[in-house]
Symmetry: C2
């Protein structure tokens, strides 16, 4: 394994791919490999890219990757689809992208599809990012579908998060979700040559202004990424979320967008934002791994038969879930 | 509290609202109230409705609620927005809906916005549904934004799940997500008077046919809701996912859709699908509550200072998350 890690550190694609497969397929694989390479991580700039289907997210990711290559960054793309349990779809995505980007050793592309629980996917994604980070990719683009909590969790691994909108999709009250303020460091209106683009940009800007007011009293990561420093003391909070326009399929606006991404990186580095982000990620990862271990313990301590019986008695209202859980909980010894 | 439950059982809206507030705001509130009313639950037909922003989901929910009222069902609507941490938005949603539906005691409407973790929101939603079930609502419509894993979790509480699409949003390869097969019992193409509606319907039908083939070897809930009985022995699997067309704002197609929803309910009742669904829900709920209790235990057993120190040492690469978690885990006694 040390040998494989050494090869991956030297940029050997097959070694990287093999390590990824190992950490992706099981938590026990990750539990062996991540500790061995963790000390090499923390160097890459991790950029999360999320947005609704149809926003042209994948084209945008391709163009960003090419632009990063032109600036001599080593780039990895991790495409995560929490909604798809089929590797088939993810592989198709790979091939479509590969057509443009293959044959360049400075780029590495991997798709991850859901294989069971989202927790499993988030953890697999986190582990895959670490392999790529240790393999000395300068920038890791993590693309996720949608903008729900699943994506928020996965975007939690990123230093810089882009939320992609497109004209005509995100204009109604419901869809311009206050929630995106919580995760976005940069908003992108892609397909900016379409009718209604100016209106989408204006809506987003209005929402950002509104959000600044609303979020003064709001807790959590929003405090860190929103453009308000509630107590005026934290430089990392002083990031004004920009709205960038692109036409990804024509490559328009990509260089400007990349400039803004790198400005955000510099901003994080110059303030304590980078460390804050690393701490947040570390906390989430510790909690997720603890929960996973606990569930394994539960499944070892309580037999399949007992679990089935318990589930049945809750399902048929012989007992209620809270009482059932109180009983099991007292029964399990960690 | 018994008094409040009694009043809620008699359909008193203020008692229902007070119980909901109690179970929604804290797990300890739910831990007191749910055990007291759980025996009254299991009667309501819980219908999950999910779909991308812009699919016209809220109008559809309104029209379904009105149609159910015309058939003398008592109806509750629970609108869940995992992406929004702002009650403000949810309340706005309430009011917009209220304009049409208020003044009728056979209908009850509640919005839930994310307040911190998604786990918290899923659990709050599950508890709110139980209050409404105990309060003798015949049908509970649970509306969630999007179609990510978050929504899958929340839809997990439903007997019948509708996934709403609209023409022009869901036509590209990426957006017709195989994942929706996992959760959909009924697919709805809303805004069916728009150009491209026929194409959307065809795409969904093609996907369903493809999915039947692909999912033969696929595990999980898909086995139960998809229209394949892998071993030919389980009647509950024999549900062919229909594609229904509606124009919600004109009320078109709503009665037909409701017919199909009720056919699915009868199908679940007639096969073992209803019980299978209750068991699945019970299992998820037990697991989620166990995890929540475990995390509380962790926070009690390991001091804030120790947790902060641990997080910092993972963030600065002094230790790795897997090693850190192995150490804590051995340290915690349940």
């Amino acid at each position: 394994m040390q040998d494989l890690i050494e090869q991956a550190r030297n940029g050997r694609p097959r070694a990287i791919a093999r390590l990824i497969t190992k950490v992706e397929n099981s938590r026990s694989g990750a539990a062996k490999i991540v500790p061995a390479l963790y000390k090499f991580t923390g160097q890459a700039h991790i950029v999360g890219i999320t947005g609704a289907p149809g926003s042209g997210k994948s084209s945008l990711v391709n163009e960003l990757a090419k632009a990063l290559r032109r600036r001599d960054h080593k780039v990895a793309i991790v495409a995560v689809d929490p909604s798809s349990p089929f590797t088939g779809g993810a592989l198709l995505g790979d091939r479509v992208r590969m057509r443009d980007l293959s044959g360049d050793k400075g780029i590495f592309i991997r798709s991850l599809a859901s294989r069971g629980s989202l927790g499993g996917l988030s953890q697999a994604t986190a582990a895959v990012i670490k392999v790529l980070d240790a393999a000395k990719f300068d920038t890791i683009l993590v693309e996720t579908v949608g903008a729900g909590q699943a994506e928020v969790d996965i975007a939690g691994a990123a230093h810089t998060t882009l939320v992609i909108e497109a004209p005509g999709m995100g204009d109604d009250v419901q869809s311009i979700k206050a929630g995106i303020l919580e995760i976005a460091d940069i908003l992108v209106v892609n397909k900016a040559d379409r009718p209604g683009a100016a209106r989408t940009v204006r809506s987003l800007q209005t929402m950002l202004q509104l959000g600044q007011t609303m979020m003064v009293n709001h807790h959590g990561r929003s405090m860190q990424t929103a453009s308000i420093a509630p107590n005026g003391s934290n430089d990392a909070d002083n990031w004004e979320i920009p709205v960038q326009e692109t036409v990804a399929i024509e490559g328009a606006g990509i260089e400007d967008l990349l400039d803004v991404i790198l400005v955000h990186k510099d901003h994080l580095r110059a303030t304590n934002g980078w460390l804050t982000q690393e701490k947040l990620r570390s906390r989430r990862e510790i909690e997720a791994l603890l929960q996973a271990r606990f569930m394994e313990r539960f499944q070892t301590a309580v037999s399949q038969d007992d679990r089935d019986q318990l589930i049945t008695s809750v399902a048929n209202r012989t007992t209620d879930p809270y009482t059932a859980v109180a009983e099991i909980f007292n029964q399990i010894k960690t």
